[in-house]
Amino acid sequence: MNSLLRQGLRLGCCLPAVQQQIHTTAVHRTFWEREKKSGYKTKLPEPSKKQMIMDGLRDLKEEMKLWRQEVKEKFESDPILVFRPGETDVVFDFKAPDVLDKWTVTTDADHGEGKSTATLELSAAGAGLFHGEVNSNHTKDGIIKRTGYANIRTKRVRKSFKRESTYDWTQYNMLIMKVRGDGRSYLINLHTEGYFDLMWNDIYHYVLYTRGGPHWQIAKIPFSKFFLSSKGRVQDRQGAIPLNRVTHFGFSVAAKKGMDGPFGLEIDYVGLEFDPSHREEFAYEMYQTPKYIVAT
């Protein structure tokens, strides 16, 4: 307490006006979240009213196109309802045109909290290449403990007129990926963002081990292996992933345990499959925990 007071006084010497605003202890806002980015929302300058109207009209054309497609699909009424064992349905294909616009690349450097770099581009083989350099060095400002990550994520799946929707993958039980990595292990993230602030950061994870080398590798991962975490913490109350509520898909790579340096993950496609021989619903046993222990 003594030192805290003193620190406050010291700050007060140089910045008397802002003395009241400076917290010297960490603030835990566990009650509710103001916005989805948890304080990381970058305030961008708002375009002029005229610009907004023009952008809106331009978007309207595309949205009408999407909407027409949706109506057409509704009348055609030809959804895939059959389980087709052994057939892979490709969801994210990097051979498709302007596929890179569907992904967002983020690193710790985005908010000045690290020095990692990353890009997603098309490789010589025509696949998507997520590469860059992860770096765990950071400015020791006393707030950030660890850094060094890079991440790619698809944009939120949506319907026409910017209405948010979700993927429905309930027919499948396997995630199939054709990748070529560099021996690092990557984190597969399946976001199931919910309506309430508690569920905004729900992400189901699993590891993608890459072999490395010049050969392509097909990874087949059951959805039952994915476990729930929120803000990087594995949760106590687990459950199988709700496949009808998947909102984003992504990969992460971190500079943990001295793995600072370049990385490269080449992704050909990400697909889904139904494997009838896989009966597991959730891979992790769930014990009855004592009262008032969960999520504390």
Binding site: N2, S3, L5, R6, Q7, L9, R10, C13, A124, A125, G126, R146, D182, G183, R184, S185, V207, Y209, R211, G212, G213, P214, H215, W216, Q217, V234, D236, K256, K257, G258, M259, G261, P262, F263, Y284, Y292, I293, T296
Partner: protein
Amino acid sequence: MIRRAQCLLRLHGNGGHSLVSRLRCYATDEGNPKQNPNPNPRAQKPGTKNLPALRNPFTAAQDRTKNSYLTMVEIFQERDVHRRNHVEFIYAALKNMADFGVERDLEVYKALINVMPKGKFIPTNMFQAEFMHYPKQQQCIIDLLEQMEDCGVMPDHEMEAMLLNVFGRQGHPLRKYWRMMYWMPKFKNLSPWPLPDPVPDDTLEMAKLALERMCTVDLRSKITVFETSELKDAIDDTWIVSGMSPEQEKLLREHSRQKALYIEGPFHIWLRNRRINYFTLRADADSEFLSQLDERQLDEDDVSHIEVPFFGRAPPRRHNQLGKLRSVHQQDDGTIMAICATGTSTKDSLLSWIRLLEANGNPSIGEVPVLFRFTSEVPAKAEEIEGGASVPATSDNSSQDEHNSSRAK
């Protein structure tokens, strides 16, 4: 209160053993502002009333070994019954673990937990249990457990007993411990390509491990270690670890003599925290063969050409005929003939690799033009640093030069 504790410590530390004196304060970086008796830093004159700068015993230690680390912990424990500032001590100890090379040692973590007094922090009623009894101490041990988690050190059951003695069943460190013991064993041996932990320091061993890992794509692959000294006129004296399977040998035999082979690299593969450079011997994809394969894929949903089996025999189709199977090495973006890692990663060692492959059962390489395609930025960097002088003649991104290996002999 804090100041008085430090005075006491100084009294204890001034006489006696040298290690003890080194231990008189374990305050970390923010130690200096804390010990300042005057709250206003401007009023303080330099040199007067200033307490001596306190040292962190871990940064001041002479020999940085596990033994000296444990001795310091022991001295702290035995210095007095109160063990004042043990939280700061543990934080300082955690921070300096890497310097002593003990960050992956379970015994050391246990020794640090042992610093905590037993039985004092156990809550005795539900209010204490609910409001995190002794929060600083609990958070300190949670941070210790988190550091263990980050370093991949799995706790054992003895640690559970120790934590129970310190914090009781309601303690938050126990919750962290139980979570770790639930998840860590699940993830520990998950990798389909297990590696020793820690990985060996020898580069040759690492190269062998890397090649073995990359060659798991073809189970018949063989890893061979060549020495360039086997060749007469090799400049570098180094080792070459080469991986090739009988299937790749066959592909190489059948490779057209007119089409070039490429030595490409260096690419890298990570084995835990070590990065190994490797090179590939690659040919362009046999597009003729691959397109032939595509033809064999019949669209079974296509109902425009249903053959009627009643009128005569159905004409033989291509997919019923015997054909070549596509090898795993024949990829869409090229055919991989072999991979290697060399001790020096220079062009000369790669030339030696080609000649050694030729001498060891692949005579056809001698008749095929072999091109080098280096994608390294290292020579460019070296040039930058050394000012353009005495750089080994490895080419950069754009340049390609041809070495007909038969001519090079």
